[in-house]
Symmetry: C2
Subunit: 434 residues, 2 copies
């Protein structure tokens, strides 16, 4: 089944990063559905019209995000109405919800927001509980179009579905996500869930993508033998994901093959796999720390606070994470953590010796069981021949155990920060497991 | 002129966020070019073939990213060769560069990487200085296709360019960006720069999107009068961008109208505009701090380190940013910053009183001129009726001046963290300017 996602908004073709694709993909995957194509267009009625027309000719499900706002450059409602040849109907109920939204926040409703109370004739309204633009679901008959050209027949209209579900969602991720969870996914699940696709993603740390590829090559050879079995490698800063997808056959068989394949990969990559699917290093560490009743403090230099940010993205992290310091200057390393000035003079601020003294100082200060400390050169300036940009030291203390590791990362300032954090968390996780 | 971007990679239709769109858009904008459509497809040769065929029928410039890697799921080279009816030719020179890439890193070259030395017949190679896959540029004649259907004629093939430039770039952002800067942008500039589009983006903080829309409505009315003048509002966590674009006419006139429009917006929004184009709050603050020879220390609670991360994303921030603490527990607030336990008992950890004592404690500890402190409830748990999720206090100290502000933010844990940081930086920036 073909599912196409149309993302609408000039900002998405400029500076704004489109995370709605990933949010949608994640939710669809829970019912065995996958996006086959995603198209982004600006706030341009003509482009929007073309893209909807084309997607309607190809896909069973067309989902759009954005362009439902109240402002001058929101064109989705009107354009889709034209493409589908549907009227826009005023909904007293929707207007009531919008009026209430503003009243609850003690804000006078701007006149512009009235636009948002118009609904495609025949569409089901998806209420917006946290914003103003409602979502809409409508099912339309197949788009008729005779195509003579061989090229275009092949390229876009070979497969013409009998009917298409069109779902319009607002652009703000929080609003879109709530509508997905409460309405869209249950709706699609009832209508389309095949139950015949299963997938698992393995998160890998400590090996480069090409080395993983080489190591798992024998298992990849199965792809050719087992119908419907697919592998994909996805590199992130500091980690690589291996996604195994299997479709077709009955459910028992799917689960069996998937489990067997997964076990084979585990045998090859071993402890380099730190988690599966929705697990992240910070989540796994949080669970382990709570289970082991340990507490953590951190000392960061080159990562500037990003380690603390990652750790505290987990709700409830305050149960084990007690405090952190960002000791950016040498003086603060000395004054706050008691690093000896001779150590910095002799070995440098980026050295095994300094990072270990940072970690020990943090342990004295915070009295936690565990400490994680990072010192390095994030660049692009500040590197030397002896200590190049990307040189990073990480110290881990768990109770009486103290270990320091040296790493060399490539990339931009931000990439080096991100790789440092992920690698440090992976290092800490492995030591926690020992 | 139509420019289409094809993003290739199953991970982009799953968990990986596609930032290449934004990087490309930013670079193209510098020579007055804009992406008109962006399409994402998975690692699926048939989808890749369809998408290239369609884009070639619409656009003058087709740029793809991804699918040039050495692994089993990289299909771009082979598929584009089929679509363009070009042979893939082995390049001894490219293989030499790949071999050197591995030799310099003391890694044995995996056999898989040989694939990357094959180039479309007639294409210009873009060397990859930091990775292995080279980029490619090739100009092809117009795609002939007769279309009988009115619908499809309208929707996708009305405009057929006489020739199309096809540019294949690797997916890793760092590699893609370097190729853009060194080769692709200079190449397109020479060939296509019109010099007839100018745009400016104003960054706004402290006002919601709909209020900005209402305030600038009189200026927006100009859009209808002045041909080629366009406005777009783009909301980010804590900030809104207003992009003004003007095209057509001669350069002097463009600059004049743009300046006049910008001034009108400044008169309405005043100090809510903190910067333009590439400026960010952290960059502007860094410049001001260095100019005023001031130093900064920070104390964070609910933001967990994200404030330090944002500040230290600026290379050279160590010249003014001295240290930070993440005082996540009450004990650390008391012990590290000297917050009185009575203050926390009486007013709570999230209160005007506590955040001010945090800031004062940080100033005593770090002996900097300036301090920024944040305490709040990022949620989703931990809120009460009196102190709901999203309640955030920010304290600013600049020399003898001490000010505390209260904010209420909506959103997810991450959004509340991000809004807190942006708002705190904006608050600090305004006080610095006074």
């Amino acid at each position: 089944m073909k599912i196409e996602l149309i993302s609408i908004g000039s900002e998405l073709l400029a500076e704004k990063v489109n995370t709605n694709i990933n949010l949608l993909a994640e939710k669809l995957a829970t019912i065995g559905l996958a996006i086959s194509r995603q198209i982004t267009v600006g706030d341009n009625p003509e482009e929007i019209r073309q893209v909807f027309t084309e997607s309607l000719a190809r896909a069973e499900i067309v989902i759009s995000t954005g362009g439902l706002g109240p402002t001058f450059d929101d064109y989705t409602r009107g354009t889709v109405a034209k493409v589908l040849k549907k009227k826009l109907v005023f909904s007293r109920e929707v207007l009531g919800a919008i009026v209430r939204h503003f009243a609850e926040r003690n804000i006078e409703m701007p006149k512009e927001n009235e636009k948002q109370a118009y609904i495609l004739d025949g569409a089901e309204v998806i209420p917006n509980k946290i914003g103003t633009a409602p979502g809409q679901i409508i099912t339309v008959k197949r788009v008729k179009c005779k195509v003579k050209s061989e090229k275009l027949r092949e390229s876009s209209t070979f497969h013409i579905p009998p009917s298409t579900v069109v779902i319009l969602l607002p652009g703000p991720p929080r609003e879109m996500l709530l509508m997905l969870e409460e309405k869209v996914i249950p709706y699609l699940k009832e209508k389309y869930e095949t139950g015949l696709t299963r997938s698992v993603t393995l998160h890998i740390c400590g090996l480069p993508e090409s080395e993983i590829d080489e190591k798992i090559h024998p298992v990849l050879e199965q792809e050719k033998k087992t119908e419907g079995l697919k592998f994909a490698l996805i590199a992130h800063p500091g980690t690589v994901d291996l996604r195994i997808t299997l479709s077709g056959g009955d459910q028992m068989l799917l689960e069996q093959i998937l489990k067997k394949t997964k076990n084979e990969i585990y045998e090859i990559l071993g402890e380099n796999i730190y988690g599966e699917d929705g697990q992240t290093l910070e989540k796994i560490i949080a669970e382990l720390m709570l289970k082991k009743r340990k507490t953590l403090a951190i000392a960061e230099s080159c990562t500037g606070g990003l380690l603390g940010h990652r750790i505290t993205n987990i709700s409830g992290s305050s149960l084990y994470f007690k405090q952190g310091v960002v000791v950016y200057s040498n003086e603060s390393k000395i004054q706050v953590l008691g690093v000896k000035s001779e150590t910095i003079e002799k070995y440098g601020a980026v050295s095994q010796e300094t990072v270990l003294e940072m970690a020990r100082g943090m342990k004295n200060l915070a009295r936690t069981n565990c400490v994680l400390a990072i010192s390095g050169i994030a660049g692009p300036t500040g590197g030397t021949e002896e200590k190049p940009v990307g040189l990073v030291y990480v110290a881990v203390i768990i109770d009486e155990k103290e270990i320091v590791q040296e790493y060399h990362f490539l990339g931009s300032r931000l990439e080096i920060k991100e790789k440092s954090i992920t690698t440090a968390l992976d290092f800490f996780h492995r030591e926690l497991l020992k």
